[in-house]
């Protein structure tokens, strides 16, 4: 079996959320990487990418913040690839790459700020940004992953939820929509592919790329609750036991507004919510604690025992 060589060792950018509410995602990503024999070098002394907020103060400031992370990975650590599991970070690093490639004004601002801040300016093309999904899919490949599955997720029905920032806006993801093998922006399938290999049954879930209202999760909570409720209901209607997530904002949004919908609108939903790395980790035979499953607000242990995925 030819073993793919790409992405065996990459720079790892966890981002702020993965040190806070998304801690379980951080843990499970690292645990899965370790189990698969992939090496993650955390970006040294990283900073926030700007998330969804800084661009509303000034878009070029966000480009600078993201470029600093890329600059450290490329110039100080000599990495050609940065892996960001958070959709927000992934999106912003991609956006910075796009802006620095196409917009001279962004290049000027980033150069000025980098000089003043005292670090090397990131130049477009120095590093490639990938998501945790690309990382596992490219570095391991489905065939090899299949041979490593020791605890099949068979019998588990999964709704794969990708959110907004993984596919939109399309222009910042030039590698997507490039035909067979590449990711699709309208019907993303990388998470489906990986979890299918792990033995799960992917349900037909129409709201894969719907919005959870993450940007206004606290400032316009009623809107977010309605949007999340749509997603939860659609997943239940499709017969899913669990919604697999790949973004800490989506994940905590779904968990939080599941409770809020029940408390505020009396709308109870029972579908579980887990990071895709947690599901993958279980299939690789890792212990739930190592994957931070006890840290999720949505309690999926019982379901896992009922499905005989956990003893």
């Amino acid at each position: 079996m030819p073993e793919p060589k790409k992405y065996k060792r990459v720079a790892y950018y966890p981002g702020c959320a993965l040190e806070g509410t998304g801690h379980a995602y951080n843990r499970s990503t690292k645990a899965v990487g370790k189990a698969l024999g992939l090496k993650l070098d955390e970006v040294k002394n990283w900073n926030c990418c700007g998330a969804m907020e800084v661009k509303n103060i000034d878009p070029k400031l966000q480009t600078y913040l993201s470029s600093r992370v890329l600059s450290i990975a490329a110039n100080q650590m000599n990495h050609k690839v940065v892996m960001a599991p958070c959709n927000g970070c992934y999106h912003n690093l991609k956006k910075a790459e796009y802006d620095l490639t196409h917009d001279p004004d962004s290049r000027k601002v980033v150069k000025k700020l980098s000089d003043k801040a005292g670090h090397q300016t990131y130049e477009a093309g120095q590093a490639e940004t990938i998501h945790a999904l690309d990382w596992i899919k490219e570095a391991i490949g489905e065939e090899r992953l299949k041979s490593l599955i020791t605890n099949s997720l068979s019998g588990l029905k999964v709704a794969n939820y990708y959110g907004c920032m993984y596919t939109r806006p399309r222009h910042i993801f030039p590698e997507k929509d490039q035909g067979p093998g590449s990711e699709s922006t309208s019907q993303p399938h990388f998470m489906d592919d990986l979890l299918a290999v792990a033995g799960a049954e992917n349900v037909n879930f129409p709201l894969k790329t719907a919005c959870c209202g993450g940007a206004h999760t606290l400032s316009d909570s009623d809107t977010s609750t309605k949007l999340v409720l749509n997603i939860l209901r659609a997943a239940e209607f499709a017969g899913a036991d669990v919604i697999a997530t790949e973004c800490p904002t989506c994940h905590s949004g779904l968990e939080m507004h599941q409770i809020r919908a029940e408390k505020k609108f009396g709308e109870k939903t029972n579908v579980n919510i887990m990071y895709f790395t947690q599901l993958l980790g279980l299939a690789l035979g890792l212990k739930p604690r190592k994957l931070g499953i006890h840290e999720n607000i949505s309690d999926s242990m019982q379901m896992m025992i009922e499905k005989r995925i956990l003893p």
Partner: protein, 267 residues
């Protein structure tokens, strides 16, 4: 005839007749609803120029009103009054007073970028929504939205320390917008977390708000960004003819948002 986007017409301008005969022809039913004609005179001729001078609004001139943005809009699906296509039309034709009817909901764009994905003309409607919301605030036509408060507190934390500490962020946001911290769903969520792992909750709420996560050697980056923001904000005010702003009010500018302030709010 059915009137499309009926919500765009003021109720007082819609005339419906149960039974109506015109020139001896019975026009009851579908044909019985008419829109009162009106004359618009109060155009703001610089509206499009002003909004396109703000970040995000640059490409509004490309719009040819196909409606793909509204059709794909996440917020429109739960509130039909939220209509990016229509607002772009009003901005481009300078109908400011019409636009102001919706001034309190424009900030509700969730930045999902479905419109940007759907737009065949690369107008970047998401950016236009942000620019419009920003313009309304700069002109003093609306109070600062909760979303803008959040963006400011968040950005200020990033500029000050390089990293985000979520508990402090939520704390400060709730305090600034006058929301109670003890909301039933928030309490339930915290209790559920606490029952599973009290240590982690304490870490999140207590530990990290005392020993805040920060990027080392951030001072130079902070100063560079503060200068840049001050410069940009002045440029924006100039382009709208607003003169020098009172930057002190602005959280992104003010240096009073320091760690002491955070500690007090955490107590």
């Amino acid at each position: 005839m059915p009137i499309h986007e009926k919500s765009l017409i003021r109720p007082e301008d819609l005339k419906t007749h149960e039974h109506l005969e015109i020139d001896g022809v019975d026009v009851s039913g579908h044909w019985s609803t008419f829109i009162e004609s009106r004359v618009v005179t109060d155009y703001n001729e610089s509206l499009e120029e002003e909004i396109s001078s703000l970040p995000g609004g640059e490409f509004i001139h490309r719009c040819w009103q196909c409606g793909s943005c509204t059709n794909s809009c996440t917020v429109n699906a739960i509130n039909p009054e939220f209509n990016p296509r229509y607002w772009i039309y009003l901005i481009r034709t300078g109908m400011e007073s019409e636009l102001l009817r919706d001034k309190d909901i424009i900030w509700q764009c969730v930045s999902c970028n479905k419109c940007t994905y759907a737009c065949p003309r690369d107008v970047f409607p998401e950016g236009v929504m942000k620019a419009t919301a920003h313009w309304l605030e700069l002109q003093g036509l609306v109070p600062k939205s909760p979303s803008m408060h959040f963006d400011e507190i968040f950005s200020s934390q990033v500029i000050q320390r390089g990293k985000i500490e979520e508990a402090g962020l939520i704390w400060k946001f709730f305090r600034r917008t006058g929301q109670p911290l003890f909301q039933s769903w928030l309490v339930t969520m915290s209790l559920r977390l606490a029952s599973k792992l009290p240590i982690r909750l304490m870490m999140n709420l207590g530990f990290s708000s005392v020993f805040k996560p920060r990027t080392r050697g951030w001072t130079r980056a902070r100063l560079a960004m503060e200068d840049y923001i001050a410069e940009r904000q002045q440029e924006t005010r100039n382009s709208l003819g607003l003169g020098s702003g009172n930057a002190k009010d602005d959280d992104v500018q003010s240096k009073d948002y320091n760690d002491k302030d955070q500690m007090r709010s955490a107590e």
